[in-house]
Symmetry: C2
Subunit: 323 residues, 2 copies
């Protein structure tokens, strides 16, 4: 009998879900609105119906080994989603407890998207066989998942891995968290937009970006411009890589990883982000660590990475049980 | 039959060793010179003779379960001491391999002193029962040991925990590592001396420290002055706590510990170091972590802590085998 884990990726706009086998093959996937369901119980019913429909499309007898969920502000230990600003459910939602009723006797595990990406990278991606590594997700913000000795670092209350909120400049940019100079105000899709606007202020050269409003500008446009040879876009990436590379040098000193993976939108800029990040990381590393730590692209990027990562929570648990 | 682990603490000047039972009781200890033995093989023979003499003084039949060693620049995985600037043995010394010959069939484990302190705190000290915590050793430099999910974080090459070399000010004080602004240039016995001299330069008030050379000044003198109400000494501690507290806020964001322990000379200043460190840590913490992370004194400080910590490497391994 074919065995599947259900992987669910909950975003502020949509929720994607899929059936994933233990080799990382996705046998079917579905998508539904998150935003349309301010009532979490209604949302869970719809999600369950969607999953049932998906299961019918799979042309074989199958065994569901468990349900893995990636969600913003997820608490792994408590199975709760806590005060997620971009989700329609306010306060502390006992998400896993509610959803478990639909899957009696099956494990339901939930963590945030960056931690799911790290587990996905270890289970199906480029970190297979690695025991100590970091995954950095460069999305709207900066998320991170640290794997230490083969296990996801959760910390005392499952909040470990907030590298996006390490302070890189105490008098720097205002962050959504209410403080100043957090790494994600520089190294993220939003961060590089802010950097482009800083460069427009600092310099006088003409640039296509002088004809675009802040609200219309996207990180994709900056990446495209960099790939087309636009010097201001390249400089924005250089600055982003500098801030990220310096912060990674500190993260290496604390956790001594074998590799760091860059994942998400900004990583698609290829050498424009990898080269400055690597250069400044090496420049700021303690000598013992120099020329040792690999900076790599994700091995699951683009391949339903979020669904794979969520399902990997279950496959990882299975592997540990069977070990 | 009574079971002992041998704990060995290798310092640049002296080596201390003792017999420790599984409750942390030290049944006897000895000390020998490190510096007098530029030949590591001669050193190991003397150390073995010392341990044999110690065993004779213990008035019972006993079983040695293993040998734990704390040493600067120790590599846990390879059992080597690597390019330790303050030890007489240059290059990479296969220390464990050499010493194992004296204890056939017994485990010999070695790590650096800060990691040994963390294992000691977990096994015998104030971190008993904790799964996620940090020990900060405030000695000549700043060392740290991170325990993650009940295990010492070693990282890919056992070099994890170099919190002393996280950069807190990119244009700051020159560090012995060749870079600038490392945490240990502020938060350590040497760091607070540098801070006193900075304050003497910045201010005009008289102070007992204006009559002492840099080379004669010790951290103990600063601590004593602070405890006696000297305002400049108190200000030096305030500044030290600010730099340490800010850096700990970042370490908390990455690792989410239950508690942080301050260990070593500066920790003896009590409220003069704990209060500013706690204040600035809380001030700079991401809101999710505020008022959650305990800042505590070591529970083994003063009690042969280094010997206890080294022996705990063995007792910890025993506990895991027997679990």
């Amino acid at each position: 009998m074919k065995r599947f884990a259900i992987g669910i990726d909950i975003g502020g706009t949509n929720t994607a879900y899929g059936l994933v086998d233990d080799t990382g093959h996705v046998y079917g996937e579905g998508v539904m609105s998150t935003r349309q369901y301010p009532d979490v119980d209604r949302y869970l019913e719809e999600l369950y119906i969607g999953i049932q429909q998906l299961l019918k499309t799979v042309d074989c007898r199958c065994d569901i080994v468990g349900v893995g969920i990636g969600a913003p502000n997820a608490n792994y230990f408590r199975g709760t989603i806590e005060n997620a600003p971009n989700l329609p459910w306010k306060g502390i939602v006992p998400f896993v407890e509610k959803f478990r009723r639909f899957f009696p006797g099956k494990p339901v595990l939930m963590t945030n998207d960056a931690k799911a990406a790290a587990i996905g990278e270890m289970t199906f991606g480029a970190a297979r066989g690695m025991k100590n590594f970091i995954v950095i997700t460069l999305g709207t913000g900066l998320g991170s998942g640290f794997v230490v000795d083969g296990h996801l670092m959760l910390g005392h209350d499952s909040l470990a891995g907030e590298l996006g909120h390490v302070i890189v400049n105490r008098t720097g940019r205002v962050c959504g968290c209410g403080r100043k100079g957090c790494l994600e105000t520089y190294a993220s899709a939003t961060g590089i937009k802010r950097t482009v606007f800083k460069l427009l202020a600092d310099h006088t050269e003409d640039s296509e970006f002088r004809r675009i409003t802040y609200n219309d500008l996207t990180a994709e446009m900056i990446t495209k411009a960099a790939l087309n040879g636009d010097p201001l876009a390249a400089e924005a990436y250089e600055y982003t890589g500098m801030m990220l590379g310096q912060a990674l040098a500190d993260a290496v000193a604390v956790t001594s990883p074998e590799a760091i993976f860059l994942f998400g939108g900004l990583a698609k800029a290829g050498k424009y982000i990898f080269e400055p990040t690597k250069k400044y990381m090496e420049m700021h590393l303690l000598s013992n660590f120099r020329n040792k730590v690999k900076l790599l692209p994700s091995g699951i990027e683009g391949m339903n990475a979020a669904i794979l990562g969520a399902s990997a929570l279950i496959w990882q648990q299975q592997a540990e049980r069977e070990a």
